[in-house]
């Protein structure tokens, strides 16, 4: 009987510690998915981390290479939220495409994104041509001309 009690106490301590770790972890790590409309309803400065999902609004992307600062707007058609991100636009990012950004909603009404999530699925194929695509083609041409049309080394 006494032995059983000991095991029960030991088991209780372990389960309790595990529960404490899990609950504590959840409190800090749960991130809410929101649309621009939902985020605006919460108001600027809403506490906690969010994942904001929507489309990157046409004509809103500004990339300042020198400052390494990317700004754009995420929209769901009804509302749009300005987003700022320190870092280059990730692969697959572009105007008129879907994006999910993770970060905080600042008191100035600008969403500070720590991370822009790129979707790399097994069978993901983005639409064929758009503005950024032709820019890349330009870059490629320029570089080839400078090399005298060569094929690199």
């Amino acid at each position: 009987m006494k032995k059983k009690l000991k095991y029960l106490v030991a088991g209780g301590v372990i389960v309790g510690a595990l529960g404490f770790l899990i609950l504590g972890g959840f409190r800090e790590a749960v991130v809410y998915f929101v649309t621009p409309t939902e985020l605006k309803a919460k108001g600027p400065g809403a506490g906690g981390a969010f994942r904001l999902g929507g489309m990157v609004r046409q004509g809103s992307v500004k990339w300042d290479a020198q400052a390494v600062l990317l700004s754009f707007e995420v929209t769901d058609g009804k509302a749009s939220v300005p987003v700022r991100h320190r870092g280059a636009p990730p692969d697959l990012f572009g105007e008129g495409r879907g994006a999910v950004v993770e970060g905080q909603y600042g008191t100035d009404g600008v969403f500070q994104a720590q991370q822009i999530l790129a979707k790399h699925s097994e069978e993901y194929h983005p639409p064929a041509q758009d503005a950024s695509a032709s820019q890349q083609q330009d870059l490629y041409k320029t570089l080839r001309q400078q090399q005298g049309g060569g094929t690199g080394r």
Binding site: I22, G25, A29, F33, A88
Partner: protein, 666 residues
């Protein structure tokens, strides 16, 4: 033509799997060895049919037969020959063929290897394995047919996902699947033990090597996935606690627990129910993982293709759990262990605690993975659980595991006296403390990393002490030279010393993880031609951009000279590929690897400044310490596993009487 033959072959596979399960089951009831012989031949035919299906699909991929949807979706005219072949496991339908190939091969191997042994178990073992085969052939026949037609036939395919065009990616899925499928064997033997009522440790002893190899391949598969993520995905990380990664790590955690707890059962006859439950859950977790990744119920950064096959997996998972667990309850009266813990400190209790911790980690990972689903069902909110949750839960538990990993194997079975414990643990603890003190100035900002380093040093010291003591004893008693004594020591108890070597590998891997997550430096900056940046001990000078056109993409790269404390050490060329087909830009990271740290450079943007017509490049540069030790650790784990599974004639001969003796006791 290919599609018709392929589909028919898979359908035949379904029919024959059901037949195999049926005759094996009958053989159990009627004691008819001829039926079992028929089941063995059926297993061989199944291997042949799977190979045929794989070969046909490869033929279709190589010849670009776009009338087959799988080919149209995963290759295009621009895809290189090599990647047309590896496209076999580039997406769902093809990868299930690979899965089925391992499964049927294992079924045939088990059927033939044990054809003259384990008469009471084999019929049920084969019934279970054929049933699992039948499920996978069903998947390939109905919801995920690799030979489904594309209509109308497209002029060109969509091509393989460009991220999968990588040499290492080709080895990651087959090896991961070997691990997943490998756990079917111990599971089948466990069920056979329950059905036949032979509830000694026999089933676990027979499948010991199978379990160890399955565990090893699952480890290697996960490590290769991390390697691919680090080298190809270009975000500087290797593990993101993504649902897909969690799906692969959960069976590994439970399998690790099983490997340890089964030793207590063999040695002391305890924990019978626990071990059966663990292997059932491990097998169930392999199915759950597939369900999770393929059903699309949980949004993942990987965003796998959604299909109805999730429902099939869920139904099969439910069936497996209900049948297996009710058998466990049915036999519960016969499953009383005949040993019990005699003292609070002994090897059994260390292993037991290790099991509780591992199952706890698995439970936390499981909860974190399905939490978004629960939150949406219960509260109607969409949430995600980030990496901080998983780190916060698993780091303290991992620290406890490391301590047990060092101390557990040194403790005596049944009862370890505190005096003995003090004697064996003193030196390793001193080593750990010295390492902790030595690293304190470097690591004081990261207490958890500091603790991890000290604990890894502790583990390494215990293993060194074990080998040293064992070899010295032989040297003194038998006069063998030290090195030879080390060898014969290991040979005489391969499982124990192989296991200790695996522990060394794990400790080194953990050193890599702790070093690279705690002390990384990161900078993102745009440089014009000739400009430079500093990070850590390095200076990077940007010399300019270059470009070339390859078969299916344009490649732009930056030429960067790297100086280490002022001395030129290397030239790096981080590149961006723009695939012509869909203009999907992919950054390919480059790195300079040393034992001390990786310098990891990604070209995130390349441009020509319109005003000055100077080249400019946006670079993301990371310094990640000790990453190489992760890969070294996994090589050491491989060595340890090879030692532990190396065939041993004496052990094979000893197994049978030991199991018989235990049966007599029970």
């Amino acid at each position: 033509m290919i599609a018709t033959i392929g589909s028919f072959g898979l359908f035949l596979g379904l029919v024959l799997s059901v037949y195999g399960a049926g005759v094996s089951c009958l053989a159990a009831r009627r004691d008819r060895p001829d039926l079992l012989a028929s089941a063995r031949r059926t297993a061989l035919v199944l291997v042949g049919l799977t190979v045929l299906a794989g070969a046909l699909l490869i033929a279709a991929l190589v010849t670009l037969d776009f009338s087959i949807r799988y080919v149209a979706n995963n290759t295009s005219r621009g895809t290189a020959l090599y990647y047309r072949v590896t496209a076999l496991w580039g997406a769902l339908e093809g990868s299930i063929i690979l899965w089925a190939l391992w499964l049927t091969s294992f079924t045939a191997l088990v059927a033939w290897r044990y054809r003259a042994r384990h008469r009471e178990l084999m019929p049920t073992v084969l019934t279970v394995m054929f049933s699992v085969c039948a499920f996978f052939f069903l998947i390939m026949t109905v919801p995920a047919s690799p030979f489904a037609r594309a209509w109308p036939v497209p002029p060109d395919g969509r091509g393989l996902n460009v991220l999968l065009e990588d040499t290492y990616m080709f080895s990651h899925p087959p090896i991961l699947y070997l691990g997943f499928v490998g756990f079917t064997v111990p599971y089948a033997f466990a069920i056979a033990a329950l059905v036949s009522g032979r509830l000694t440790s026999e089933w676990a002893i027979i499948t010991r090597r199978w379990t160890l190899l399955a565990w090893y391949f699952l480890s290697l598969g996960n490590i290769l996935g991390a390697w691919w993520s680090y080298h190809v995905l270009g975000w500087g990380g290797y593990w993101a606690w993504d649902p897909v990664e969690n799906a692969a790590i959960m069976p590994w955690i439970l399998g690790t627990a099983f490997l340890h707890s089964v030793m207590i059962q063999e040695r002391r006859g305890m924990l019978k129910v626990w071990n059966l439950a663990l292997i059932i859950l491990t097998f169930a977790m392999t199915l759950f993982g597939t369900f999770l990744t393929r059903s699309g119920v949980i949004a993942s950064v990987h965003a796998f293709s959604q299909s109805s096959i999730g429902l099939y997996f869920l139904a099969f998972l439910g069936l497996v759990l209900v049948v297996s667990l009710s058998m466990l309850v049915w036999r519960s009266d016969r499953l009383r262990g005949h040993g019990e813990l005699e003292a609070p400190v002994c090897r059994e209790s260390a292993f037991l605690l290790n099991n509780v911790v591992l199952v706890g980690i698995c439970f936390a990972v499981f909860l974190g993975t399905i939490f978004p689903l629960l939150a949406e069902l219960v509260r109607g909110v969409k949430v995600s659980v980030g990496a901080p949750f998983f780190n916060q839960v698993s780091i303290p538990l991992m620290a406890l595991l490391l301590f047990l990993m060092g101390a557990g194997p040194l403790m005596a079975w049944r009862r370890a006296t505190l005096d003995h414990l003090r004697r064996i643990l003193l030196r390793p603890l001193v080593v750990a403390a010295l390492i902790g003190v030595a690293l304190y100035p470097l690591a004081r900002e990261y207490p958890s990393a500091l603790l991890t380093f000290a604990l890894c040093a502790f583990v390494l010291a215990t293993v060194v002490e074990e080998f040293w003591k064992g070899a010295r004893a032989r040297q003194r008693a038998l006069g063998e030279p030290f090195v030879q004594a080390l060898g014969s020591l290991t040979r005489r108890n391969k499982r124990r010393y192989g296991g200790l070597v695996v522990h060394v590998g794990v400790a080194l891997l953990v050193v890599g993880v702790a070093g690279s997550s705690g002390f990384s430096l990161e900078r993102e900056i745009t440089l014009k031609q000739g400009e430079s940046m500093d990070i850590g001990r390095y200076r990077l000078v940007f010399r300019g951009l270059d470009a070339t056109r390859e078969s299916n993409h344009d490649r732009v790269w930056a030429n960067i000279s790297v100086l280490n404390q002022g001395k030129p050490v290397t030239e790096l060329q981080p590149a961006r590929k723009h695939f012509l087909r869909d203009n999907q830009p992919i950054s390919r990271a480059v790195m300079r690897t040393t034992l001390r740290e990786d310098l990891y450079v990604i070209l995130t943007g390349a441009d020509v400044d319109r005003g000055t017509s100077l080249h400019q490049a946006t670079l993301k540069v990371l310094v990640r310490p000790l990453v190489l030790w992760m890969w070294i650790g996994s090589l050491v784990m491989t060595l340890g596993t090879v030692i532990a599974v190396w065939p041993d004639r004496r052990a094979a001969a000893a197994e049978a009487p030991a199991a018989a003796a235990e049966a007599a006791v029970a």
